[in-house]
Amino acid sequence: MSRLSPRGRPAGSGQRQRGPGRDRDRDVPLPLLVPALAAVAFLVLPLLALLVRAPWRRMPALLLDARVLDALLLSLWTATLAAAASLVLGVPLAWLLARTSFPGRGLVRALVTVPLVLPPVVGGIALLLVLGRTGLVGRWLEQWWGFSLPFTTAGVVVAETFVAMPFLVLAVEGALRGADRRNEEVAATLGASPWLAFRRVTLAIVAPGVLAGLVLAWARALGEFGATITFAGNLPGTTQTMPLAIYLRRSSDPDAALVLSLLLLAVSLTVLAGLRGRWAVGQR
């Protein structure tokens, strides 16, 4: 399995596995240590600032606020649906990009990862132009089924999937490229159809990569803001996810915005830490 991570183990896995002690005994070169510590401070201090400035006394009342719970629940399940949609569509796409060659594959790969670098607001506008009521595709949805995505919870899921799926595609494609294709070839010589080989061999090998991609996509969807507010609008209970609630409260009630931020942070950390522990155990 170790060839799946050619660039070494991610941080944290060492302690968890009581890993090779010689890594820790080695001297860390100063030119690496200093910037690394600066990076830790840079990334962690803003989170600490949230904790320090949080209005702890108002916390219980704010956490029990029905609107806050609405936004949190909406965030959790739209992010989960978006991650699921990314999985269903993204794994086949990643397989196509990693295992087949067709003209323009490089272009397709570049295009499907554009949402990674696109400002999410631009993504939201683009989605409106396609799936909006007057959009290229949306007008037919409206005409044939009287169905329109903007301002609906489904629209939130669409916006989140748009920005989250590339994370999964890249993670899974990377895993597929790192996996040894001989396993699949052996499966084929033993009479497995390509579809069976994909399910029973390929998928089993890249499962950790799929999980990593799934978690990344879920986390990205949970924090999604720009595409959501642009495409799906902002209506409490229907399209107002936590990031939107935080954004709109920060001017009228900065304390509440802080509490909501902490809540979102706590929930995502809990889920990420929980999942990571679980699949680490599964891999042992």
Partner: protein
């Protein structure tokens, strides 16, 4: 063996981009013609203790102006005229919801001038001691119903907005245009169910212009700025509310002289002409 298979991520995840309409425009060259309109504009700087000297003193530097989103078109013209009159000055405009800008000011943004879309938002700034002068009202704006060109839903007036099947956009209540919309609904005695609460008036206008909603409540000036894409239906007299637009120089202004001169320019007859041309009313 944990978290494998991320080696090909080619880029960092993008940071969520704030959708505030932060158009920070550095004004460059300007038509010479507007300079002709400037004569005497500096003589009536009511709030500007230092502006009296501005006529003789040569102003220079960048003036950073934080202005309500609804002021976008009018302030771009006024800023161009101001720069034409003061070649040493460049005006940097930042447009967003007034409440967003107020929060930035309270957080210490280095800006010179704040123009808000209602008095309540300006009060947040003055009460925190962040204004250098008593704010002055320089314009008023009326709320209208904006509908996509051709009025596809066939709306006739405010009362129609109570129809549940209608798709309606209003500004978030935290934002001045949202507060004004709620006032109008209360005055008219209707209880519409908006489909979205947008973060500023230009976002609301955008949803209407794209045809994504059947109607949106925006300012008259915004509907005028998007004429062609949207049509405006006036509110009935009983529900008509006006927003006062106050302006002030900020206490932390890095360039106070130019800031006072800019405020004077906005409040001058020439400035008022630009504002009324854009659909605002005189104070």
């Amino acid at each position: 063996m944990t978290l494998p298979a991320m080696p090909t991520l080619p880029t960092l995840p993008t940071l969520p981009t704030l959708p505030t309409r932060h158009k920070v425009a550095r004004r460059g060259a300007v038509a010479a013609a507007v300079a002709l309109a400037l004569a005497g504009c500096l003589s009536d700087g009511g709030t500007a203790p230092r502006a009296s000297s501005a006529g003789t003193e040569r102003l220079s530097g960048d003036v950073t102006v934080l202005a309500a989103a609804s002021l976008t078109e009018a302030f771009e013209v006024i800023a161009a005229q101001f720069e034409a009159a003061h070649p040493g000055v460049s005006v940097r405009l930042s447009f967003a919801a007034s409440s967003t800008l107020a929060a930035q000011i309270l957080a210490g943004v280095p800006a010179d001038v704040f123009a808000a879309a209602d008095a309540a938002t300006m009060r947040q700034v003055t009460q925190a001691g962040a204004a250098a002068t008593e704010p002055r009202v320089f314009a008023r704006n009326a709320l209208v119903i904006a509908v996509p060109a051709g009025n596809p839903a066939g709306l006739e007036g405010l009362a129609d907005l109570a129809d549940e099947s209608l798709t309606l956009a209003v500004c978030a209540v935290e934002v001045p245009c949202g507060a004004a919309a709620q006032r109008a609904f209360a005055l008219a005695g209707i209880d519409p169910r908006p489909d979205t609460y947008e973060e500023d008036v230009k976002a609301t206008l955008g949803k209407v212009a794209l045809g994504e909603v059947d109607a949106g409540l925006v300012y008259r000036s915004d509907a005028q700025a998007a004429a062609g894409a949207v049509e405006a239906i006036p509110l009935p007299a009983v529900a008509q509310t006006y927003n006062d637009y106050p302006i002030t120089v900020l206490a932390q202004a890095p360039h106070p002289s130019a800031a006072y001169a800019f405020v004077a320019r906005v409040r001058s007859p020439a400035g008022l002409r630009v504002l009324t041309d854009a659909g605002f009313r005189p104070p």
